[in-house]
Amino acid sequence: MPAVIEVQNLHKSYGDTVAVDDVSFSVQEGEIFGILGPNGAGKTTTVECVEGLRRPDRGEISVLGLDPQRDRAELTQRLGAQLQDGELPGRLKVGEALALYSSFYRTPADWRALMDTLGLADKSSTRYGKLSGGQKQRLSIALALVGNPRVAVLDELTTGLDPQARRDTWQLIEDVRSRGVTIVLVTHFMEEAERLCDRIALIDTGRVVAVDTPAGLTERVQTEHRIRFQPSVPFDDRLLTSLPDVTSVIHRGDVVVVTGNDNALNAVTSVLARNNIVARQLRVEQASLEDAFVALTGRHPESEQHARESRPGQN
């Protein structure tokens, strides 16, 4: 499949501050491509260069074969953007906003159908200022899609949404993709990236640390698997420590914690079965995307709780 977005050696500074040092990636047609990274990593600046809002200091960008700076007018027809802090006039009504924005485009989508799809039909004559955070976010997505774009760039899509609204939004994004729209998703939520993205560019301090599928990123970190269970009867630790796949066995009260490689689970359960020991409340902890994130960037992602608290007044 051809690349829809091609970014090569992008560099952008604001005065002495380097926002994007050296970023390259390409996005294939029809995929959901995630840009994941800690706050201040250069995610937003990168997509703003892709959208043509900022002029890169160095590097090449091509979107649908267009140069975001030179072919700006044409790009705006084909790329829909949702900005992190893009509001609307407080007294503008939902229906008016959609009708207005759809009038900007050559071949707009049916804005009334879009309004239904996003669950805003009964808000048509509600003013923007009276909408909840989730409703504002949905309107913002609708406005990004109202021009029938080939590519949609969504920046911090679900920040400030409650869990239900966030799941609904994810469903919506998958529906949009199934229509053939290529999606670039900027996020710092692991769960969102893991659920939605076909591939992820992990960005830290202005550089691409890795580009891979969520599973591929997880595999890169060689964290050990941890198996916890309550044995039905006491047993000799050597039963397990003698297994080549097991590295350690620890007792925490009634609970036994076994660490080992990804074969350890098989080995442990078969040994226990052979010795007629039942493993109650068996749990396996594997490396997650979050572990990969921490391992690759050396930082903890901002937690959802924190993100929600940092945007008061929404929802």
Binding site: A73, L83, G86, R91, Y101, D110
Partner: protein
């Protein structure tokens, strides 16, 4: 949920969006209240109050036989222009920038320049309507004659609006927030209205103040309007002063304006 891919037929004619944008901005202007209440309602209220004062309808020797009300009609017109241009416009535009609305438009084919165009069109249109309303109410309600030099009067109105809207754009360009823009606009409003003769008619000002008044956009505007009302073509100096403000502040605003 599924997103329908139905595309409406390609929009007819060139720039269908600009018309809709202007209509939408007009609706927002009316909903925003500052313009309609202070820019249109308040000058009309003053006209009605002044018109109801008996002595304001008597010819005054100081005004060369004109009535006080006749002297005040042009002052009320520039009062309205000043409110629209110095308070309503900068507040709206700086607010749009603060909220990221201009940036949002940058990602669409419409672009933020056309939003400025739509805003200016709305303010010009409201100015024209308001001038007509004031002239008609003054004529029908209080017997103030319509301007005898109508073309000169119209040109003076448009130049005054252009000069003030340029100053308003400059305020919007330099103020950090909608609230700051409104504060700066209000601070400019009072001295400008003083020199337009709101409190002391220009003809009765001491010589020095009268001199300064000639050089201010609203002072020049009021004199041009009063002259045209009496039947003279506006003095070249008055028109030039207004045009100079329009060009100088217009260029400065264009240079300094930031979309974010």
């Amino acid at each position: 949920m599924s997103v329908t891919a139905t595309a409406s037929p390609p929009a007819a004619a060139s720039r269908p969006g600009l018309g809709r944008l202007t209509v939408t901005e007009l609706k927002l202007f009316i909903r925003e209240r500052v313009g309609p209440i202070w820019g249109v309602g308040f000058p009309l209220l003053l006209l009605i109050i002044f018109g109801s004062i008996h002595s304001f309808n008597k010819p005054q020797k100081d005004f060369g036989g004109a009535t006080t009300l006749e002297i005040y009609v042009p002052v009320l017109i520039v009062f309205s222009i000043a409110i629209l241009a110095l308070s309503a416009l900068p507040m709206v535009l700086a607010g749009y920038r603060e909220k990221g609305i201009l940036r949002r438009l940058q990602t669409t084919p419409m672009g933020p320049v056309r939003l400025l165009t739509a805003q200016l069109a709305v303010n010009f249109a409201v100015t024209v309507v308001m001038v007509i309303v004031i002239l008609v109410v003054a004529r029908l309600g209080y017997g103030v004659a319509l301007p005898k030099q109508l073309a000169g009067f119209a040109i003076a109105v448009l130049l005054a609006a252009a000069a003030l809207l340029a100053v308003g754009l400059f305020v919007a360009a330099t103020a950090g927030s909608g609230r700051a823009a409104q504060a700066i606009g209000t601070i400019l409003f009072f001295p400008m209205m003083f020199f337009a003769g709101l409190w002391v008619p220009i003809a009765q000002m001491p010589k020095l103040l009268r001199y300064i008044s000639h050089g201010t956009p609203l002072g020049a505007a009021v004199q041009a309007l009063q002259g045209a009302a009496e039947g003279h073509w506006p003095h070249a100096q008055q028109l030039l002063v207004m045009a100079a403000y329009a060009v100088a502040f217009g260029l400065a605003a264009a240079k300094l304006f930031r979309w974010e």
